[in-house]
Symmetry: C2
Subunit: 360 residues, 2 copies
């Protein structure tokens, strides 16, 4: 016997690298290339840090109300957490307390199985089809809950509302958790379905479309009943998860709708041009509705390309995982950054072709 | 069957009220009456919020290093969390994964049993003696871990290092978690015992002595091995728990040792004067080593006094709980605030005495 016998054994999630080099093109963690609204700067500068001696609002009351108004929901339908990872984690702990398996696509956010291991939640991976599409009919089996990212990471593919409604309808005895971290980049939010389904919980984040990954704000929306249970678990975990500065910066973000929309449109435009350029270079690219693309080249091993990009100080994401080990996920940066990526790829593919020719 | 069947049932912690009134004397959540160092204001004003588009360091690297240096520890012996409540919560999840009960005093921080319920950890409350003292010999029974607050809340009593070492020695097969949230107000930290015991984990916070409850920074110190396990669980829960602003404000706090020490001494001085005044009014007061006092008056029901104080806009803390339902916990505020409390109590006790006289 030793204290080591009482440890919870887990295999933790490994987040995308945050390299300390400064002259890199960082396209590996789906951060927004543009800053948050300047209102955030203003609010932060004006904040009197003497107020930090006091605890923050336990439910980020004012921000919570503003989010409810923004989405035409009741305040009781909203809960804010310390980034969407915390919201997801506490949702798993709250809602998936079943002997039946939680269902999730086999290709999706790799944190889900880690939450399951942490909380001892049985789960079952449901294979997507050869085009990485989620097949609705596969989610009509016995389960203790369902989690789907829409759009998905890393595939970047989105589901339509009709498909999500079908899943909700067929699973009224399970919570269906839809992770909409990337929804603002072209997907269709399922928040309107909250009017009809009390088993729907939708998670969103300030990290991507609102350029606030550094301040850690995630949100879940659901029926007032579902959210009240999530609050009970949150209040059994941490009374004050959102610090006072994060609360005011979140509010600042909501005040500048014009900048928010402009920022998103810029990224979508860059994505579409980047996709066209990739296709012209012979890449296969999924129909991205996110701020990243998922790509594959028939003539180049993804792992080799990943390393070549890394050496050129362009950091993207690659997983050594069945079905996607020949694919790369590339975040959409600025136009200038994406042009540099295309230039690099052109040179790389040309050199590769020459070597192939020479081998013949 | 319904989705409600799969819910985790919990009875959440209820934090001390954060009233929205402005002209109150707020002595109910052990906040510091003085602001944090002015370096925090400076750092915050200068921060460029454009950097918030990027994720923060997953382990608050720079702050972690500074804390290690401050306490003459290795960086691997330090983990930072989103307030000490998160650090405690993740410590329970990591270390107390046993069939044997976790031991804790019966009178202590009331969040501990709530973590146990959340994570299904068996626990056993060990009665303190009639003077609220923790009896070391009672912790030499079979257990899956031990958690003790030093100084304790709400009793305000501290243990000495010899007693803590005795517990560590007798329980080398269990993690002994010492919650030092209030240690800077007169207790003796057990951090030096980390040199000898790899089963010791010490939790501290920026919320009390550093006047930073609003920014949510808690810390655990332990052996490099214990902390690495805590990191594995943290990284299975949330990759980025500390936002970028909290990290720089924590660093600002560590840069102003002079202000920090002065602030603590002021509070201790106010506490000692307040205690003397209370004793002169006939109160029983425990030997506080914290930024609050735990008090009882032989002639007045605590609950009635709590209500009378509340009506006078002086908010303190009372628990309807066996053994302490006739006690109040009062945070140490400014001299001016504590003088007002004494003035109120004088008037209240005098009126009470007159009523008693009249009844005869």
């Amino acid at each position: 016997m030793s204290w080591q016998n009482n440890l919870r054994s887990v295999s933790p999630y490994i987040a995308g690298e945050q390299p300390e080099l400064t002259d890199i093109i960082k396209l590996n963690t789906n951060e927004n290339p543009y800053p948050p609204t300047s209102v955030a700067q203003l609010f932060n500068e004006r904040y009197k840090t003497k107020n930090l001696r006091l605890y923050p609002s336990t439910d980020a009351k004012s921000l919570r109300k503003k989010l409810a108004d923004y989405h035409h929901l009741e305040v009781e339908q909203v809960i804010i957490g310390n980034g969407s990872d915390e919201v997801l984690s506490l949702s798993f702990l709250t809602f998936f307390n079943s002997q039946s398996p939680l269902l999730m696509p086999d290709i999706t956010y790799s944190f889900y199985p880690i939450y399951c291991e942490l909380y001892r939640i049985p789960f079952q991976k449901v294979p997507v089809d050869d085009d990485f599409k989620v097949l609705i009919k596969d989610y009509c089996i016995e389960n203790g809950g369902i989690v789907i990212a829409n759009p998905d990471a890393p595939t970047a593919l989105a589901l339509n509302l009709k498909d999500i409604e079908e899943i909700l309808k067929k699973n009224q005895n399970s919570i269906v958790l839809i992770n909409e971290a990337y929804i603002d980049f072209g997907g269709e939010t399922c928040l309107p379905l909250l009017k009809k389904y009390d088993n729907l919980v939708v998670v969103q984040t300030f990290s991507k479309s609102r350029s606030l990954a550094g301040i850690r704000l995630g949100v879940a929306y659901g029926s007032a009943e579902a959210i009240s249970h999530l609050y009970d678990v949150k209040n059994s975990f941490n009374s004050y998860p959102i610090d006072s500065l994060a609360q005011i910066i979140g509010e600042a973000s909501l005040m500048d709708e014009h900048y928010f929309q402009k920022n998103i449109q810029k990224i979508i435009k860059t994505r579409e041009v980047f996709k066209d350029n990739l296709v012209n270079l012979g890449f296969e690219v999924t129909d991205s509705k996110a701020n990243f693309v998922f790509v594959h080249h028939p003539k180049v091993k993804a792992e080799e390309l990943f390393k070549a990009l890394y050496e050129a100080k362009i950091i993207v994401r690659h997983w050594n995982q069945p079905r996607i080990d020949d694919w790369l996920r590339i975040t959409i940066g600025t136009n200038k950054e994406m042009n540099k990526v295309i230039e690099f790829l052109k040179g790389y593919l040309k050199k590769n072709e020459e070597i192939d020719e020479w081998k013949k």
